[in-house]
C-alpha cells in the first residue's frame, strides 16, 4: 500500500490495528449469530440474551483504544464489550449455557458478565447501574495515581435515569479519568428515543457539566477508535471525562434471537437501512479497497473465528452445570 493510500484510509493507523478491528468485530458478529442459533430453535441457551449484532463497531473501537489495565463496565447487552476487551470466548459461551466453567460460574448468565483479568469488573442488568461504578473506579485511579482510565458503556435508555446526570457531574467536577460511551441505538426496549427523551441530542448533556460531548457515527469503527483514543488520552492526562454518543442500531429485537419486526415496533425499511450501514461490511470494504487485506486473508480470518466460536460451543456443551452445593457458596468471600 502506498503512503497516500494509507493516509486515505486513516492516517496513523497501522495495518495490524485495522486487522484487529475487523477480526474483533467479526468475532462478535459470528459469536452472536451462533448464540442466536442456540437460543432458537435449539433452546440450548435459555438465559435471556440481548444480542449486540449491528453495534460491533462501538465496543471494538473503544476497547482497542484502551490498555488491558483500563476498566470497562457493561450493561445487559454485554457480550460485545467482553469480546472486544479480550475476554475468553469459551468462558463467555459457558456462562450463556449457565455452566460452572462460565466466567461468572453460571450464577450470572448473559446479563452478568465479568472478567476482571481483562479489565471488565462487571455488567449490570439495571439500566444505568454501572455508570456511577465506572466513575468510582476512575476516582480510585486518580487517588491511587494510576495511569488508567475507566469506561462506562450504556445505552440511550440509561440517559433517562437520574444517576447518569449525577455521574457526569461528579466525574467532571473531580476531573476523573472516565469515559462515558453511550450507545444510542434509538430504542429503549419497545420505545423509540423520541418517546423517551425531550431532547434526543445526548452528547449535548455533557455541556451542562462543563465536559466535552461528541456525537459520532457509531458504525464507523475507525471514527469510534479515534474519538475514544482522544477521550482516553485526555482522561489519562488529567483533563477529565468525555461523553461519546455513538449512533448505532441493534439489528435484532430488544432481547432474543429474532428481529421482532412482527411486534410492530419498527419498520422493515428502517432495519434494512441500518443493515446497509453494517459496520463490519464497511471496514471490510475499506480494507479490501486499499489492499490492506486480500480476499484470501479475509476468508482465513473468518474461518479461524468460526473455528474458535465452535470450540467455545463445544467447551460450553461439555462443561458441567454448577453443583447444588454451589448455591450457597460465594454469597460472601
Amino acid at each position: 500500500m502506498s503512503k497516500k493510500e494509507q493516509k486515505l484510509l486513516s492516517p496513523d493507523l497501522p495495518r495490524k490495528l485495522l486487522l484487529k478491528m475487523y477480526a474483533t468485530m467479526l468475532t462478535i458478529r459470528i459469536f452472536e449469530e451462533r448464540v442466536a442459533s442456540l437460543i432458537a430453535p435449539k433452546k440450548e441457551i435459555t438465559t435471556p440474551c440481548h444480542l449486540y449484532i449491528g453495534q460491533e463497531a462501538v465496543a471494538t473501537g473503544v476497547c482497542l483504544a484502551l490498555k488491558k489495565e483500563d476498566y470497562v463496565y457493561s450493561t445487559h447487552r454485554s457480550h460485545g464489550h467482553y469480546i472486544a476487551k479480550g475476554g475468553d470466548l469459551k468462558r463467555l459461551m459457558a456462562e450463556l449455557y449457565c455452566k460452572k466453567t462460565g466466567c461468572s460460574k453460571g450464577k450470572g448468565g448473559s446479563m452478568h458478565i465479568a472478567a476482571p483479568e481483562i479489565g471488565l469488573p462487571g455488567s449490570s442488568a439495571i439500566v444505568g447501574g454501572t455508570i456511577p461504578i465506572a466513575v468510582g473506579t476512575a476516582l480510585a485511579f486518580s487517588i491511587q495515581g494510576r495511569d488508567n482510565v475507566s469506561v462506562a458503556f450504556f445505552g440511550d435508555g440509561a440517559v433517562h435515569e437520574g444517576v447518569f446526570y449525577e455521574s457526569l457531574n461528579f466525574a467532571s467536577l473531580k476531573k476523573l479519568p472516565a469515559v462515558f460511551v453511550c450507545e444510542n441505538n434509538f430504542y429503549c426496549t419497545h420505545l423509540p428515543i423520541a418517546s423517551c427523551l425531550a431532547d434526543p441530542d445526548i452528547y449535548k448533556k455533557a455541556q451542562i457539566f462543563g465536559m466535552p460531548g461528541v456525537r459520532i457515527d457509531g458504525n464507523d469503527v475507525v471514527k469510534v477508535y479515534k474519538t475514544a483514543r482522544k477521550a482516553v488520552e485526555d482522561a489519562r492526562e488529567g483533563k477529565g471525562p468525555t461523553l461519546i454518543e455513538c449512533l448505532t442500531y441493534r439489528w435484532l429485537g430488544h432481547v432474543g434471537p429474532f428481529d421482532d419486526l412482527d411486534k410492530g415496533l419498527r419498520s422493515k425499511e428502517e432495519l434494512d437501512c441500518w443493515v446497509k450501514k453494517c459496520p463490519i461490511r464497511r471496514i471490510k470494504k475499506r480494507l479490501l479497497k486499499h489492499r490492506i487485506v486480500t480476499e484470501d486473508e479475509v476468508k482465513k480470518i473468518e474461518t479461524a473465528i468460526r473455528a474458535e466460536v465452535e470450540e467455545a460451543v463445544a467447551f460450553a456443551r461439555n462443561s458441567p452445570y454448577p453443583d447444588e452445593r454451589d448455591l450457597l457458596y460465594g454469597v460472601f468471600r
Partner: protein
C-alpha cells in the same frame, strides 16, 4: 374452600390471572375519573404479560402513560399527582427496579400522610411484578414483599387467584393509602372464576383456602398453589393440611391465622422471599407472641428462599426456589417433632 364461593354469581366465568388484572385495570380507569396508569413498559407487547392489553387504545396516552426509565422520578410524579387528588397506579414490570425508586417510596410516599399530621392522603397503588426464573439471575428475580412490609405507611397485598387479583387491585385503588400490590408472573396463566362486576376483595383479610386439622400452612401469592399441591400429596398419606392464604401481608389477618393455629397447633410458614428477616419470620413471631405459643406441638417451620441472591443457572434455580416438595418436607418435620 374455593374462592368462588365468596362470590355468588350466576355466570361462573373463568379468566386467567393476567386477564383478571387486565379487566380490573380497564374497569378502574373507566370508572374512576381520577385513576391513571403510569410506568416504564406498560405499553410494551411483552413486558407486563397481557395485563395491559387494550388500555392505551381505549384510554389514550393521557391516562396510560408509558415512561422513560426513570423510576425514582416517576414514583415522585405519582405521589405528586395523588396529592393533587388523583389515584395513580404506578407499575414496576419487575420488582427489582423498585430499588431505584426507594427514596420516593420509602422516604416520601410512605411517610407523607403521617409526617404532616394526617393532613394529606396518598391514594396510590404501587403495582409490583415479581418476574423470576428462566435464568435471569440476581437483578431480575427478586420478591421484595418483606422490604415493603417493613416500611410503615404502606399496605402490602399479594393476590393468589384471578378472583383476588381483580378484587384486590380494585380495593387497592379505593383504599386511600399507598398500597403495594404484588403479583407474580408465575401466576399469570392460572385460571379461575372472576365475576364481571366491579367488586373489591377487602384488604387485611385472609382466607382459609383449604380446611384441615393436622397442620396449618400459611402462604401468599404463588406459594399458595405450591401449598395446595403439597396438601394434595399429603392427603394420600392421611395428613390433613389447613391452608391459610393471607392475601394481605400488611395489615395481616391475625384472626384467621390464630384461629387456624389454635385448631391444628402446628405451623409451617411459606414465603417466596428470603428466609432471613422475611415475611415468614414476621408471621412466626406474631404467633409466638401470643398464648398460642404454649399450645404449639412442634416448633414453627419456615419455607422460604435460602439466603443467597438468585442464581442464573437452571441447575441452581431448581434448588433455590421452594416448591410443594419443600413444603411437604417441612410439614413432615413438624409432625415428627414435638415441643
Amino acid at each position: 374452600m374455593a374462592i368462588s364461593s365468596k362470590w355468588k354469581s350466576e355466570k361462573m366465568r373463568t379468566l386467567s390471572f393476567a386477564k383478571a388484572i387486565n379487566e380490573a385495570l380497564h374497569q378502574i380507569i373507566a370508572t374512576d375519573k381520577q385513576a391513571f396508569l403510569i410506568g416504564q413498559g406498560i405499553t410494551s407487547p411483552w413486558y407486563v404479560g397481557t395485563t395491559t392489553v387494550g388500555l392505551i387504545n381505549k384510554f389514550g396516552p393521557k391516562r396510560i402513560i408509558d415512561t422513560p426509565t426513570s423510576e425514582n422520578c416517576i414514583t415522585g410524579v405519582a405521589l405528586g399527582a395523588a396529592l393533587a387528588g388523583m389515584h395513580p397506579i404506578i407499575c414496576f414490570p419487575r420488582m427489582d427496579f423498585m430499588y431505584l425508586a426507594m427514596d420516593q417510596l420509602a422516604n416520601h410516599v410512605a411517610n407523607w400522610h403521617y409526617m404532616f399530621g394526617g393532613q394529606l392522603n396518598v391514594p396510590m397503588v404501587v403495582w409490583a411484578i415479581i418476574n423470576r426464573g428462566g435464568e435471569q439471575a440476581a437483578q431480575h428475580s427478586q420478591a421484595l414483599q418483606a422490604v415493603f412490609s417493613h416500611i410503615p405507611g404502606v399496605r402490602v397485598v399479594m393476590p393468589s387467584t384471578p378472583y383476588d387479583a381483580k378484587g384486590l387491585l380494585i380495593a387497592s385503588t379505593q383504599d386511600g393509602n399507598p398500597v403495594v400490590y404484588i403479583d407474580d408472573r408465575w401466576l399469570y396463566e392460572k385460571e379461575g372464576h372472576v365475576p364481571e362486576e366491579y367488586y373489591s376483595v377487602p384488604i387485611g383479610k385472609g382466607i382459609v383456602r383449604k380446611e384441615g386439622k393436622d397442620v396449618t400452612v400459611v402462604a401468599t401469592s404463588y406459594m399458595v398453589h405450591e401449598a395446595l399441591k403439597a396438601a394434595d400429596d399429603l392427603s394420600k398419606v392421611a395428613i390433613d393440611v389447613e391452608i391459610i392464604d393471607l392475601l394481605s401481608v400488611k395489615p395481616l389477618d391475625e384472626k384467621v391465622l390464630f384461629s387456624s393455629v389454635e385448631k391444628t397447633r402446628r405451623l409451617v410458614v411459606v414465603d417466596g422471599g428470603w428466609t432471613n428477616c422475611g415475611l415468614a419470620a414476621e408471621i412466626a413471631a406474631r404467633v409466638s407472641e401470643t398464648g398460642l405459643f404454649k399450645l404449639l406441638k412442634a416448633p414453627i417451620m419456615r419455607v422460604a428462599l435460602p439466603n443467597a441472591p438468585a442464581p442464573a443457572s437452571s441447575a441452581l434455580e431448581k434448588v433455590y426456589y421452594p416448591n410443594a416438595g419443600s413444603i411437604v418436607s417441612a410439614i413432615k418435620k413438624t409432625l415428627e417433632k414435638r415441643n
